[in-house]
Symmetry: C2
Subunit: 310 residues, 2 copies
């Protein structure tokens, strides 16, 4: 199994290292840490152990790969100024399966349209890992994957990839309806990620304590949108999300971590796409609309003041 990872940050480095452990031939496209990774590989510190992942090859651009991989894993953030098609098109061959390990809802279509004849696997990572330095990945907790073909189904390409991941020590589940799984994850993400930022840095536990009714309202709107798109979620999905969050230790969302570090946030992938789906399906989602409008204001630097937002 030949694998190419595009976007070799924490997520790409971690899952690439796992497939390498499982016996795949894993090459990586790596921009910011290119020199370090080429010279030393990627140092993995994980709940699964500590090891150094030596990619079969390290490229600056996908076009440098001499032959198309069996699986191309795209692991970048989903941001308006990242052209995902351009990032991968030179490396995609006629038999390459494209795998998105990315956040958000309704993020597949742009890629699917560009590669109509390739199998597209959409994947969700439930993982807590971060880049702890150049060529260093720190996997702190969890790690499960959900993988399914887009728009639906879970054929042999999904099964083979799940098998490889499972051999490496994490759980990877084949999903017949990965789109529903994305909406299910969005039920949590759409409230907690932006609220952690807009509240000025509250942990999930604080948000829940001070704003549970509001969180539930946002979750309810996500459920309504999911249902309108043909992916109704379980009746108790909101109660379970609330209960699960209550069990978690006080937690800073990834969006808050990005915001505090001055990195771009996945506002569009997580919240903007949900709001656009609501508009398209004509499902009222005024609370999500309000949160989205506020996030767009929050992301803005004041034009009238020569200083960053505080």
């Amino acid at each position: 199994m030949k694998v190419l990872i595009v976007g070799t940050g924490a997520i790409g480095g971690f899952y690439g290292a796992l497939l390498d452990r499982a016996g795949a031939r894993v090459s990586v496209v790596c921009r910011s840490d290119f020199e370090t990774v080429e010279a030393q590989g990627i140092e993995i510190r994980s709940t699964l152990g500590e090891w150094r992942f030596r990619p079969a090859a390290v490229y600056r651009h996908a076009g440098e790969a001499p032959e198309p991989p069996d699986y191309l894993l795209l692991c970048t953030k989903v941001l308006p100024d990242i052209d995902r098609v351009a990032l991968i098109e030179e490396a995609v061959g006629p038999h390459t399966t494209i795998v998105l390990i990315q956040n958000g809802v309704e993020i597949e279509e742009a890629v699917a349209r560009a590669f109509p004849d390739n199998v597209l696997i959409s994947g969700l990572a439930f993982v807590c890992c971060s880049r702890s330095g150049p060529g260093k990945v720190w996997h702190q907790a969890y790690g499960n994957l959900m993988l399914g073909e887009w728009p639906e189904g879970a054929g042999s390409r999904v099964a083979d990839l799940c098998d490889a991941f499972c051999r490496s020590g994490i759980q990877a589940r084949a999903m017949e309806d990965i789109v529903a799984a994305r909406w299910r994850k969005c039920v949590w993400n759409a409230p907690f990620n932006p609220l952690s930022v807009l509240s000025g840095g509250l942990y999930t536990s604080d948000i829940l304590e001070a704003g549970e009714a509001f969180v539930r309202r946002l979750m309810g709107e996500v459920c309504a949108i999911a249902a309108a798109t043909g992916h109704p979620l379980a009746e108790d999905v909101i109660d379970r999300n609330i209960a699960d969050t209550r069990k978690m230790p006080p937690y800073k969302t990834s969006m808050l971590l990005d915001f505090e570090a001055g990195r771009p946030m996945e506002t569009e992938a997580i919240l903007g796409n949900a709001v656009r789906a609501a508009r398209r399906e004509q499902v009222p989602a005024p609370h999500l609309e309000a949160v989205y409008a506020l996030m767009k204001l929050r992301e803005r630097r004041p034009a009238s003041a020569d200083r960053p937002p505080t």
Copy 2:
């Protein structure tokens, strides 16, 4: 005309000084700056000139006033932990007219209920002034007042007070429907004040540039609530508010100034009361609800972290 000012900050100090100029006998209740004001009076730096206002008497508590005033002007902020009735009750006599120079909507009833036999004047100040130091008021711009009896009408007490203010150099307008005037002011306040805070410090011009559609939606909800309470606003009130804001220089709202200075914000008076009116009147106001919920989160210190919100 005997006047007692309760809450002698910037607003109370400024309007007290004006009534003094107009020939009234003005005493003040003043807590934080008591010593300075008792010794030196209040230094006024205004577009109307610079002068020192020497109150007829300076008290720490309203109960120290030996006789009830003709007019008691309450000029504190409207905050959940300020008991406005307790602040004034010892100074209110049977013939005292109570005058609220305060922000917000539906802020009168609590005071009216406590003093059912007194005339209550509700007043709106359109003024830009601040406390520039102990016993120092800096009046930077505007200054107009709207005064009307609550719940409606504008009898002789209103007329006399307007006359006094007008003699002092500012415009004071007698309003037959002061409640509608409060809702009209809320059309601007309910979006711009919280959005300036939740956006991380944007000026009005930035908010308008990046979020005009959202601002208009919030304004529309305020208009619907006002109409449901029996105070329909003019058809073009939103367009006029937008146009007027566009003409203003980039402006930091009072709520943003309070937030940046770590002072409590009038979230409840401006936004919470509007939302509660919407619920009572069963007018849908989901965007205001969302902004209100976010302000309650924004005001919260994270319980799980030993640090203030950033």
